[in-house]
Subunit: 223 residues, 2 copies
Amino acid sequence: MPAARSYSQFCGLARALDVVGDRWSLLIVRELLISPARYGELYQFLAGAATNLLADRLRGLENSGVIERRLDVERGCVVYALTEWGEGLREPVEALVRWSAPLVAAGRGQDAFNARWLVLALQAIAGDRTSPRPVAIGIAVDGAELTLRRDKTGTSVTLGFAPRPATVLSADPETVFSLAAGVISVRDAVTAGGVEGDPRELAAVFASTATPPPPSGSGLAIP
Amino acid sequence: MPAARSYSQFCGLARALDVVGDRWSLLIVRELLISPARYGELYQFLAGAATNLLADRLRGLENSGVIERRLDVERGCVVYALTEWGEGLREPVEALVRWSAPLVAAGRGQDAFNARWLVLALQAIAGDRTSPRPVAIGIAVDGAELTLRRDKTGTSVTLGFAPRPATVLSADPETVFSLAAGVISVRDAVTAGGVEGDPRELAAVFASTATPPPPSGSGLAIP
DNA sequence: CCGCATCCTCATGGATACTG
DNA sequence: CAGTATCCATGAGGATGCGG
């Protein structure tokens, strides 16, 4: 029963952090923003969270009304999913992802990677850009398949090729993150060898490259 | 030298939390989003953070390039301030403040309060609303003075009455938060006695009340 | 197997005293 | 005033156990 240590401040940010400020909490939310998942899947995705902590955080988030247990009828099992209120965390989480562009641009280093996380990154960035025309491209990265689809209703990023887009290319994780973060142009990514296949559709998606201000500090080097 | 424990995940959110995910870090950012401040002021505003933790977090945020020490020429002292990159945290922080609306609507309880925090809350919400016309109102709350000013360039919220607005009224903290969060209408606030003075300008500012979905959980009661 | 609960160790947070 | 130094409480991390 690890009591959520409260800031005890009558302030929106403090109250929000009382709910999702504990370690691992927002990363659990991240996974559920990508898709509902069962306990074992979360344990696998988070890769490093102790099982008791995961159980603690899940119970806490459930008690706070951020997540709920749902019955996955297709798989016939219980999955964790965000409540309607919890879905509202997409905005601040995507804003943090955008803010972190210079941090991911520093390179992967020895860090773990899961292609799922690119779904959120691409939504956070590509969701902003106005579409000149409908487009659907597939990106094969790290053994996974991402589909970026854009039509009149908006932009969506999903896992898997279903249906298979006309244009499919492969790229490495760092290149996709850098493209999404807007710290590299498609042209530079291609010449650097980070992309294989016809990148013309990709160039259309990541046309407007918004370069974020680089962090001035020196403590950002990835060892 | 408390090493920032890293998630070691090649993901924007994880990298961001490696920088600002430690306890108290985002609350320090909150204070500096409102105004630069010196060490003692931060220690006072945060009201509860141990001095060694405050020093640790300040050093960590400085090393990461989020904040920097600046010379306040007017006061002739050193203050902490956000770097340009650190200013970029305004978006995710304000998004968290908006998300927390149901949490602050639960009431103040025994929590500490500082009128400074209303500056951020009002900016987070009022900044969204399109202005029908220029307006400037003063709100006296908890011994402090807030000025909400709106012109062609946008909406700003500042501490102090300078220059003094034509319309000045007083309100209690909970009412202002609830108005900003959009969980109560100006009409209801007035009839409940939370506002003193002519609230007509106030009604113009908080015209469009966006009611957030309430949290479904039961763990949100403020003792 | 999956979904947790228990146990133990140690890093981190919190309160107070102290110093340049 | 702006932090350091110290000491204790607490939560994180890892291994393992256990019931369904």
